[in-house]
């Protein structure tokens, strides 16, 4: 079991954890949203690494003959969906952050005390 065979998966795990760390220790909501995007990118890396085949080309058969060794098209489609979802959620969160700043003049999660009874 060589490290290089599993490096992409380790990268995905690292991205997830560092993204979550960023959210937990964040002092600014926009920074927290960006860290969430970093954590999200761990799924892109994971999905695409799963579908990769050595010495294979993209699954586009316009100029290569059918039957050429190609990577998995399904994970590419999944990753595409994931990217769109991730970016739209980020947009929504940023809009929330903008409004929070307008109402409370601060973006620091520790200063924003949410209501509790």
């Amino acid at each position: 079991m060589k490290l290089v065979d599993y490096l992409p998966y380790l990268v995905a795990i690292w991205l997830l954890l560092i993204g979550l760390y960023g959210i937990v220790t964040s002092r600014n909501l926009i920074h927290a949203v960006t860290c969430l995007a970093v954590a999200q990118s761990s799924t892109y890396v994971l999905l695409l690494s799963i579908g990769y085949r050595r010495a294979a080309t993209a699954p586009i058969f316009l100029d290569v003959p059918l039957g050429t060794r190609a990577v998995d098209p399904v994970v590419a489609s999944l990753a595409l969906t994931d990217v769109v979802v991730g970016s739209t959620v980020t947009a929504l969160l940023l809009a929330l952050a903008v409004q929070i700043h307008k109402r409370t003049r601060t973006l620091d999660p520790d200063q924003l005390r949410s209501r509790r009874d």
Binding site: M1, K2, V4, D5, Y6, L7, P8, Y9, L10, A12, I13, L16, L17, L20, Y21, V24, T25, S49, I50, G51, Y52, R53, R54, A58, P59, I60, F61, L62, L66, G67, A70, V71, D72, P73, V74, V75, A76, S77, L80, T81, V84, V85, T88, V89, A91, L92, L94, A95, L96, V98, Q99, K102, D110
Partner: protein
């Protein structure tokens, strides 16, 4: 929790979670050794069955077309959501950029930026349309091309022509474009249900492999998605940029 308690608690938990994930993922096939049945089967059958040379697009828009339809609606919902979240409150109003600029130090855009930006606008729009139209043949598709088109709008802002952009781009029209893009995907699906017995059935003739009008409904869906994504991202952009113009009733920029 206090911030430092939180940090240390998290680090311990993250180490444990990381260990669990490493343990789990070490059971995966090594990188580069994909041998799943689904992808390999599709690589073989997609081109002859669907006359689409971009198998990823075939998967996205045909085999798993329903996923893409819902993904398109996620974008749709997010754009509506941003519009809802950034709507003007009763005590706020938008002011024209000219009033805004008075007394506010706006670094003017240099002429070089303006010229280059506006010159690039045409090719970018063209490129975006190309990517959308050829989605089923070469890498690209509705989503990718739609985003390229939306960057055209961003380019206009960066070139300092935002004022012009606001005048030229009527909000209602872009709303309509987005809704049409989203709705037509569903309508194509329903039509397939009526005509061919299953939702999102590919009911158009498949055409010759490698030509633009091939792969049945795929180009149409690509166009719908491209329209929706372009309009959606332009709306997102303008919602955020408009926030710079919103003043509250005391005349303060919020």
């Amino acid at each position: 929790m206090t911030p430092s308690v939180r940090r240390w608690t998290f680090l311990v938990a993250a180490a444990a979670l990381g260990g669990l994930l490493v343990w789990g993922m070490s059971g995966l096939p090594p990188f580069g050794d994909y041998h799943g049945v689904y992808g390999l089967l599709l690589n073989e059958v997609a081109v002859p069955e669907r006359h689409a040379t971009n198998v990823v697009a075939a998967v996205t828009f045909d085999y798993r077309g329903v996923d893409t339809m819902i993904e398109e609606f996620i974008l749709f919902a997010a754009v509506i959501g941003v519009a809802v979240l950034l709507r003007n409150m009763r005590f706020e109003e938008e002011h024209e950029p000219e009033e805004q600029a008075r007394g506010r130090r706006v670094p003017g855009t240099s002429n070089a930026v303006r010229v280059i930006g506006l010159t690039l606008l045409g090719p970018i729009v063209l490129y975006g349309l190309y990517v959308v139209a050829h989605g089923h043949l070469t890498p690209g598709g509705g989503f990718q091309g739609g985003v390229v088109l939306a960057t055209g709008a961003l380019l206009v802002y960066l070139s300092g022509e935002y004022v012009t952009l606001r005048r030229v781009r009527p909000q209602a029209f872009i709303d309509l474009a987005e809704a049409t893009g989203a709705g037509s995907y569903v309508v194509v699906g329903l039509y397939g249900l009526v005509v061919a017995g299953s939702f999102l059935a590919n009911f158009l003739p498949l055409g010759k492999i490698g030509t633009l009008p091939s792969a049945g409904t795929m180009p149409i869906i690509n166009l719908a998605v491209g329209l929706e994504v372009a309009a959606g991202f332009t709306l997102l952009l303008s919602e955020f940029l408009d926030q710079t113009l919103v003043l509250d009733s005391t005349g303060r920029r919020t």
